[in-house]
Every structure is written in structure tokens, then in C-alpha cells.
Amino acid sequence: MNKKYTGTDTIKRGMARMQKGGVIMDVVNAEQAKIAEAAGAVAVMALERVPADIRASGGVARMADAAIIEEVMRAVSIPVMAKARIGHMVEARILEALGVDYIDESEVLTPADEEFHILKTDFTVPFVCGCRDLGEALRRMGEGASMLRTKGEPGTGNIVEAVRHMRRVQGQVAALCAKSKDELMTLAKEIGAPYELVLEVKTLGKLPLVNFAAGGVATPADAALMMTLGADGVFVGSGIFKSANPEKFAKAIVSATTHYQDYATLAALSRDLGAPMQGLEIASLSREQRMQERGW
């Protein structure tokens, strides 16, 4: 038997690299998971409720029931992700024990800790975390996240926050790379990021981790927009199964993510889709209602 090394950075980050150019879809049962897989999703996120329903129902949102996650894992052969509350390392350990392929330490759920995130380097299973700026992205990476996603505003079907966060991260990466090395310690202090990781961004000329867009993608055009802004792929939460025709939306968003620069194809994909999910104006949400504010 050859010795096998599990849970290395190459393995954990490499898994996210295989997802690039793809769409990860929120699902709440086996039937939805099968629709997502047939449509060409690269992974599914197993949840008890999609973000729009979490938002509507209020109360504390927690890790999904293990039975739902296992039902989804049995239903599909593509990777299955699941969400743990920010800072809830026991939920994360339970998800790891269930065998999920990726854990999302997610602001969509009610945080368990308002000061600290999970130390993700301790786990064999890889984590994805949300970010709104480069400092937050590099803090999560410092804790051991293997994949990033910009937060946007989940459950709104409104792309404006996803755009804001992706532009901010990309802009800050470009600004960092334009600086000389002697300016980087002060930059690290200003954005609250580990100096070594700031240096790594400068050396690579880009983020060291795969970075998807999330939080507000509702149409094929939204997905293509996020790819145009530099996303490596997209998460679609409520946008698929809150639309009038989930199967059609799922397929169209997958194809739009691949062919995001082919406008004739995008036009065809945008035809006769039926109603997208009902959207929310961000200004109608108070600061306390914005999930993006969660995370430190």
C-alpha cells in the first residue's frame, strides 16, 4: 500500500479548482439535487431552507438536519456541500463526519460566535468562506479556508451587493499588486490581513484561492456578469428553486456561466425563461437584516 496524504492544502484547494467555471446550487431535498445535477451543476449545497425562506421565516438558522444532507448525498454523484454557522466548530465536525465534500462557514446561518471563526486548518474537509473585501478574504484564508466567495446579499435575488463585493476584492488585489514591497506591511495593517498572505498575493499577482460570486444571482445574465467581473464561478441560492421554472433556469445559468462572453448565446439563454425569483430592494433591509454584515 502506498502512503496516502489526505487533507493537504493541494488537495483542499485543488478540489475548488475543479469547480471553476461552474455553478453550485442550493437544494433542500433529493428531487432538487437531481434537477441541479442533470442541469450541469458542479456541486450542490444541501440546506434545510434556501436563503429567501430563511429571511422570510426569521428565527435562528442552523446547520441542516443530517437526514436532509444524507438524502442529498445519496441522490447525486457530484460533490455535496453544507453550511455550518460562523464559529460553530461542532456543526463543522458533524458535517465532516457525515462526509460532505465542502463546508461553507456561512453568514446565511445565524452566527454562533460574534468574535471568532472556525480554525479551518484543523479539518481534513475543505471550507469555503464569504468575504466582502480583500482583508476579510485573507483573514479567512489565514484560518484555513480553501475557497472564497464574495458574499453579496443572500436571498434577495438582487445582484447589486455581489457586484459591489466582487469589484472591491478585485480592485484591492490590483491596488495591492501595484504597490512596492516596502508598502505592504502598512497595507496589511490597514486592511487587517496577515502580512505573509498580502505578500503572497503580490508574488502571485492574484488571489491564491479560487473565488466564486454569491448572494443575489437570479438570472443567466447575472451569472455572466459575475464571470465578467472576474468570478471563478457562481453560487446560486434561491435563484433557481424560487423561479417559475427551476429546470430551465438551472440549465440556462450553467450555460451562461461557461459562455459568459458569447452574447448571442446569452440572448438565446435569456429567452422564454419564465419569471425569475421575486427580488428585494437592498435599501428595504435594515442593517440587522443584512446577512453580509456577519463575519469578522
Binding site: 496516502k4 496524504y5 489526505t6 493537504t8 471553476k20 467555471g21 457530484i78 465532516e96 461557461t258
Partner: protein, 200 residues
């Protein structure tokens, strides 16, 4: 060598930039292949790692199946991980995704387990010696037909093979610095060597 070899990477989904970086490190010209016209412009093709169900769907949507089958009659193709699955004649216990059938191999998807069981290991490759290999939710080849040749196995599971112009690995050479497998593939594409002589 005269002009640089043009190596295409199927760019519908997956680890495309990682392969293009490897192509560049190997001194070749890389091209992202998204459609039939792109395919006509390359000397060799790589089917990258990604999700095989997703890739299968997007290949069908672009009507690339017959073109890829014709491609390997005259030019080399490297399939890694999901790319290996796409090359299979059949998938064990699963009709999806419909493979391209480029090679006489029967493949088991996710044959080493889920992500937490994914691993790196030192692998003995025929003619090349030990290579550090990265396996991510990797498939393995359950059996090969008479036309296909086994190049490496791990725990009695076949993880690298070739048949004619088609070379497949269950692991990810694009995630490691070792260039031996890529160099072998390029040598195949330039017709510079007889079957299975690694450049060491």
C-alpha cells in the same frame, strides 16, 4: 523543434488555467478550446479535471462529441480525472454522463471515496519512476480492453493508461510541479517517440 506545439485545453468548465499554465511551463503555446473552430486550430487536446457530468452536458451542447472522436484518430489527447471519465467506453454502474468512448476502458467514478478521502501519494509510473500524484475525488480504471495499456496502478486500481493517441490519468499532473507526464504527452504529439518512452 520548429514552431511551438499548440496545445488546446477544453475550456467549458474545470481546472483550465492550471492546465494552460502547465502548457506554458512546458514551452508550448496554449489555447482555450470552447467550440469546434477552436478544436481545428490545435495539435493536441487536454480534457481537464472538473465535474464530468457538467463537462459531458456542455460538450453535448456544443456538439463536440464527434469532433473529439475524429480528433484522436490523428492527434493526441490527454484526459485527467474528469477527462479520463469522459474518455471511457463505459462507466461502472452508471449510464451518466454519456462518455465519449475514446478508449477501451471501464471506469468507476469517485472510486477512492469522497473529498475527505482525497489524497496525494507517490506513484510508480511505467518508464518514468516515482511521481507525486494528486487524487481528488478521483476515478479509477476497473478494467482495460486488449487495446489499452496500463501505465500505473495504486492499491491494485489502475490510475494511468494509454491507447493509441489517448493518454489518461486519474490524478492531476497540472497541480504538481513535475513535468514528466506533460513532456511525455508533448513528445507523443510531436511524433518524436515510439509508444511509452518517457523523457527522463
Amino acid at each position: 523543434m520548429g514552431a511551438k506545439r499548440r496545445i488546446g485545453v477544453l475550456a467549458l468548465q474545470g481546472a483550465v488555467s492550471e492546465h494552460l499554465d502547465m502548457v506554458k511551463r512546458g514551452g508550448c503555446a496554449g489555447l482555450a478550446v470552447k467550440n469546434r473552430a477552436d478544436l481545428g486550430a490545435v495539435d493536441a487536446l487536454i480534457l481537464p479535471g472538473g465535474e464530468s457530468t457538467t463537462l459531458g452536458r456542455l460538450i453535448r451542447e456544443q456538439e463536440l462529441e464527434d469532433d473529439i472522436r475524429a480528433f484522436v484518430k490523428t492527434r493526441p489527447l490527454l484526459g485527467t480525472c474528469a477527462g479520463l471519465i469522459l474518455c471511457a467506453r463505459e462507466l461502472v454502474g452508471d449510464a451518466r454522463p454519456r462518455p465519449l468512448g475514446l478508449m477501451d476502458i471501464s471506469v468507476e467514478r469517485n472510486g477512492f471515496g469522497r473529498q475527505r478521502e482525497s489524497f496525494e501519494a507517490d506513484l510508480e509510473v511505467e518508464g518514468a519512476g516515482s511521481i507525486r500524484a494528486v487524487f481528488i475525488r478521483a476515478p479509477f480504471i476497473q478494467s482495460v480492453g486488449v487495446g489499452a495499456r496500463v501505465l500505473a496502478s495504486l492499491d491494485d486500481k489502475i490510475v494511468m493508461a494509454e491507447q493509441g493517441n489517448v493518454l489518461v490519468t486519474a490524478f492531476h499532473p497540472e497541480l504538481a510541479d513535475d513535468m514528466r507526464i506533460f513532456n511525455y504527452f508533448v513528445a507523443k504529439s510531436s511524433g518524436a517517440l515510439a509508444e511509452s518512452h518517457f523523457l527522463l
